[in-house]
């Protein structure tokens, strides 16, 4: 099911909850000399590297309701199932 199918098939909702961080395994990060490299010439390149790509950010095009109560009311009104996405930190981004 594509994104459009998802949006049509279920109401979407996100709720802010404080919870624990991810359990990702260990990784090593080589110290980089990039931190001093930001300039007007490199700004756009850095911006494009940091921002999610349009494909990665496709979920942001869904008209999420930011509160549980709003989602429940819409679910009842439209007689559609509700999808609740619960994450820590900013609930619109998986941290």
């Amino acid at each position: 099911m594509g994104r459009r199918g998802l949006a049509a098939g279920a109401l979407a909702l996100l709720v802010f909850m404080t919870a624990c961080g991810d359990e990702a395994g260990p990784r090593t990060d080589a110290a980089s000399n990039e931190n001093g490299g930001l300039s007007t010439a490199t700004l756009e390149n850095y911006r494009d590297r940091i921002l999610p790509t349009p494909a990665e950010a496709a979920w942001e095009e869904i008209d999420w309701h930011p509160s549980y109560a709003e989602g429940l009311r819409e679910s009842s009104r439209q007689q559609k199932p509700l999808m609740l996405w619960v994450m820590n930190g900013h609930p619109l981004g998986c941290t």
Partner: protein, 283 residues
């Protein structure tokens, strides 16, 4: 409802996806970073929905939830920035990007510029703006929830704006500066939900560049974008950095005007410790 899900009713996290009906009937749930697994959960929920009775699809008549929420403090007419941050460097995991919102009231946001900005003017960005960014938004939560810095720990941070042009009411300006956050782990933000049980020495420094346009008549920003690139050190309990990953390592941030839609009203992760009098604690 979440107590019915994949983590059950025990202590700890309730993170994940839940598909449910309006009366609180759980249809499916999981906590997965995999898109395929998430899709599978949604499809399970939709299949289960077909088996539900009409009564289960409707809110109970006595439905009530607390109406006071952090969203109520949304700074209408102010400045709302949507942030993204990720690791940089040759070994960076490109799959980890975090999002947040930074909130400023209209009065606070006016601190980006002087009272009567003219081309060539240079202005020191107000302390409240710099502190909010350096304490709560230029933090290492790329991989997980982290801790904020206290204003005293970011005191060396400074941002300036330079007016590039003023055409009618539109003031276009450039932003530059540096943020420096450093702590030995001594907690300086009082007792709250974030108070750690042990010390987490850490630091984060960035170089900041950006630009924006402010409409003097409408008293709002019509454009704003900043990029901050720098170095992180240390870790916190829940930010997903194993003990061997304490840096120094490169990290980058982008802050842009948030879109005007309901999902952009999600409050900042650290809204409860912003320390601003206009933030109304709903608890």
């Amino acid at each position: 409802m979440a107590n019915q899900g994949h983590y059950g009713g025990g202590g700890g996290t309730r993170q994940g996806l839940y598909v449910m009906t309006a009366n609180g009937t759980l249809l499916a749930s999981s906590n997965a970073l995999s898109a395929d697994k998430a899709l599978e959960t949604i499809q399970q929920g939709l299949e289960a929905w077909k088996q539900t009775e009409p009564a289960a699809r409707t809110l109970p008549k006595d439905f009530d939830l607390p109406r006071r929420r952090w969203e109520a403090s949304y700074p209408q007419g102010g400045l709302v920035l949507r942030t993204a941050n990720t690791d940089l460097g040759p070994d960076a995991d490109r799959n980890r990007i975090n999002r947040d919102h930074a909130w400023f009231t209209a009065e606070e946001a006016r601190g980006w510029l002087g009272a009567d900005p003219q081309p060539g003017d240079t202005h020191t960005v107000s302390r409240v703006i710099v502190d909010r960014l350096a304490c709560f938004h230029l933090v290492d939560n790329v991989r997980g929830q982290t801790l904020p810095f206290a204003p005293a720990e970011v005191a060396a941070s400074k941002l300036t704006t330079t007016v590039v042009s003023r055409e009618g009411d539109a003031v276009t300006f450039e932003i530059e500066g540096r943020t420096e956050a450093e702590t030995d782990g001594t907690w300086k933000l009082g007792k709250n939900d974030w108070t750690p049980t042990t010390k987490y020495p850490r630091g984060l420094t960035t170089t900041v560049l950006g630009s924006g346009t402010f409409d003097l008549a409408a008293k709002r920003f019509t454009a704003m974008e900043m990029v901050a690139v720098g170095e992180r050190t240390g870790r916190t309990n829940l930010n997903g950095r194993p003990e061997g990953d304490v840096g120094p390592a490169a990290i980058g941030f982008v802050l842009q005007l948030a879109p005007d839609k309901p999902s952009a009203r999600v409050p900042p992760a650290f809204i409860d410790v912003y320390g601003a009098e206009w933030v109304v604690d709903p608890r």
